[in-house]
């Protein structure tokens, strides 16, 4: 009889996560307000009077002291109101909610690609008996690890957008397609509704940025998993399984893989948060309408409310990723199950 899934949840870490989130909110709030550069100054029309400026400042609460500002902000935040974007004149929550699904779909696709590539190559390389295969993979991997996601992104733009113009290099969907879905999760919904023409179109926009994000992660997964699989293959239980007549493929898939995935997952979790951070640049390169792209605009425009909202969004996402990774440890390693 299996233990309840609740045993997988790391309750203590959850509490720690909430505290961290609060800490992030405070620190970012303070940092952004002791900053040189005045967002109000960017918004005013030439010839505005001092009174107008003061009024504008007051309307954004920027005339109060920092602790007071924070309390006001916190009060609103807890009800889901993160204020209005200074540069875009829209509700911050609305802006983020509009674009977050696109980024989520992109990063999940990238994660999937990275896992398939990384785990697949690692398993294949341990199955091959020839030493040349393993050595070549190691060398190629070493080089792969050094190439950052934005270099891949730009390379893809050149190769598959211009040299061989087979893929679109900006946006998320073809503007000529009429899409009236219920949610902003365009890819997901198109699959559910079996609108495969839309699925195809969205994928053609997403595949390059997703691949650019996936390759560095795949390289890390390959490196760690390959090493771990080699270590596990030398363990007694693996040898015993071979002696029982299991083929090398079976031994890898049924015995060593689950043990080798434990250290791999730890690193993948950290790297995945980096992948999420990478969306900032990759989305920009592909003009993909996600929160990464939004973040750059916000920073360039010194849009404080928007920046604050985005920091919290990213912070929350990172925390959730870390929690998920910790929970998965319980799944893989029976010795770590809580309760």
């Amino acid at each position: 009889m299996r233990k309840l899934p609740l045993a997988f949840l790391p309750w203590r870490s959850l509490l720690l996560a909430l505290v961290t989130l609060f800490g992030v909110a405070v620190i970012s709030f303070v940092l952004l307000r002791v900053v040189p550069g005045d967002p109000i100054a960017m918004m005013i029309a030439p010839g505005a009077s001092q009174a107008d400026i003061a009024q504008l400042r007051a309307s954004y609460g920027l005339d109060r002291s920092i602790p007071v500002q924070f309390v006001i902000w916190l009060g609103h935040a807890l009800t889901g109101d993160f204020g209005t974007s200074i540069s875009m004149r829209q509700d911050v929550t609305h802006l983020i909610a509009e674009r977050l699904p696109a980024t989520i779909e992109l990063t999940l696709l990238a994660l999937l690609i990275a896992l398939v590539l990384g785990i697949g190559t690692a398993v294949l390389s341990t199955l091959s008996r020839r030493r040349l295969v393993g050595g070549t993979i190691d060398n190629a991997n070493g080089i792969l690890l050094a190439v950052p996601d934005f270099v891949w992104a730009l390379a893809f733009v050149v190769l598959f957008g211009v040299a061989l113009p087979i893929l679109p290099i900006s946006g998320r969907v073809d503007p000529r397609l009429s899409i009236d879905f219920a949610t902003p999760f365009t890819l997901f919904e198109s699959l559910l509704r079996l609108r495969l023409d839309i699925t195809f179109d969205v994928l053609s926009h997403m595949i390059m940025p997703a691949l650019a994000l996936a390759l560095p992660l795949a390289a890390v997964i390959l490196r760690v998993l390959k090493g771990a699989l080699e270590v596990e293959a030398r363990q007694d239980y693996a040898l015993l399984a071979r002696i029982r007549g299991k083929s090398r493929l079976r031994v890898t898939l049924e015995e060593t893989l689950r043990n080798a995935l434990i250290p791999t997952l730890a690193l993948t979790g950290v790297q995945f948060t980096f992948l999420f951070g990478g969306t900032v640049i990759v989305e920009r390169i592909f003009a993909y309408p996600g929160i990464g792209n939004l973040a750059i605009d916000a920073v360039i425009n010194r849009d404080l409310p928007l920046i604050q909202g985005l920091i919290l969004t990213f912070g929350l996402i990172f925390i959730l990723i870390n929690l998920a990774v910790e929970a998965s440890f319980g799944l893989l390693n029976p010795r770590l199950r809580h309760g």
């Binding site: 490196r223 900032v280 973040a295 750059i296 920073v299 360039i300 440890f329």
Partner: protein
């Protein structure tokens, strides 16, 4: 316990063995030439460095000189090329090759200064916390844990937005974010070294603790630091490129590879060369720093020596 290993910890720790117990110092500088990686990567980087230093002599044109009559010229081997503009021109008629050469200045300035600064701070803190332990170690370790929770690119953009644009800000951002890379590794190295017998021997001889740190531990930790420096320079180049791509680095007059890439992205269909050449040079430089670090590591890790 969730183990938060840095990517380069994975790179350095698997599948190759941990650094061996005893470390011999370089058998003279000539030993460097035994490793092909060091020779080729180092040579390439040296050429770039020289190009950066002697840019006014090497570059065929003034990188800031605009000539709208000659804009978006293709590279020399194409049909519509103009002589004298080997790699073509951008949308304002500026010579791509010259801008590339001058862009090397920003890249290398940032790379060297940022890497050295981050290395200095990180190594110092790593040495102190690894050797003296106690509350120093506890504080530093906690700091590292918190620091490592944030993705570097995101943080650097945020920091530069806060601090303001310019080369100094970029360098500062890199240092603030990446000192932990050095600190972590140096700390663990120091911990290992501190347990060695020669340290005990020095203590019994009455040498002061600070002196031991400087004369015994540091030289053995140095090879690792050199490897990390090379790695860090590669990272610094990338971060600078990203920041200038986004427009948060130096002022838009100064040519940077990232800036050229940004412009090239806009006119990618009309003038692919404006993006491709800086991209290729950037990638080659980063790979070179990486291979250089890898080569140095192979030279100094006794376990790997054939």
């Amino acid at each position: 316990m969730v183990e938060r290993a840095l990517p380069e910890a994975a790179v350095m720790a698997t599948p190759l063995a941990e650094p061996a117990i005893a470390r011999r110092r370089f058998a003279g500088l000539l030993a460097v030439f035994r490793e092909p990686r060091v020779v080729f990567a180092g040579g390439f980087l040296l050429v770039l460095l020289l190009a950066a230093i002697f840019a006014p002599l090497v570059a065929p044109h003034d990188p800031l000189e605009q000539d709208l009559m000659l804009n978006t010229l293709p590279p020399a081997w194409s049909a519509d090329a103009e002589p004298g503009y080997v790699l073509g021109t951008d949308s304002l008629g500026r010579d791509v090759l010259s801008r590339l050469i001058y862009g090397t200045r920003v890249a290398f300035t940032v790379a060297i200064v940022a890497a050295l600064a981050a290395g200095l701070i990180g190594t110092l803190l790593g040495l102190l916390s690894g050797y003296f332990g106690g509350w120093v170690d506890a504080v530093v370790s906690r700091l590292i844990d918190i620091w490592m929770a944030f993705p570097p690119v995101l943080l650097s953009i945020l920091l530069v937005a806060v601090i303001g644009t310019g080369v100094t800000s970029v360098i500062l951002a890199i240092v603030v974010i990446d000192w932990t890379r050095f600190c972590r590794v140096v700390r663990s190295e120091t911990l290992q070294q501190a347990k060695m017998e020669y340290v005990d021997a020095a203590v019994t001889l009455g040498t002061g603790r600070g002196k031991i740190l400087l004369k015994e531990v540091l030289p053995n930790v140095l090879p690792v630091v050199v490897v990390l420096l090379s790695l860090e320079m590669g990272i610094a180049v990338i971060v600078e490129a990203v920041l200038s791509f986004v427009g948060l680095s130096v002022s838009s007059d100064t040519p940077t590879w990232g800036g050229m890439i940004a412009e090239g992205r806009q006119i990618i269909y009309q003038a692919w060369w404006v993006l491709v050449f800086p991209l290729v040079l950037l990638t080659a430089t980063v790979l070179a720093f990486n291979q250089l670090g890898d080569g140095v590591r192979r030279l100094t890790d006794p376990v790997l020596r054939r």
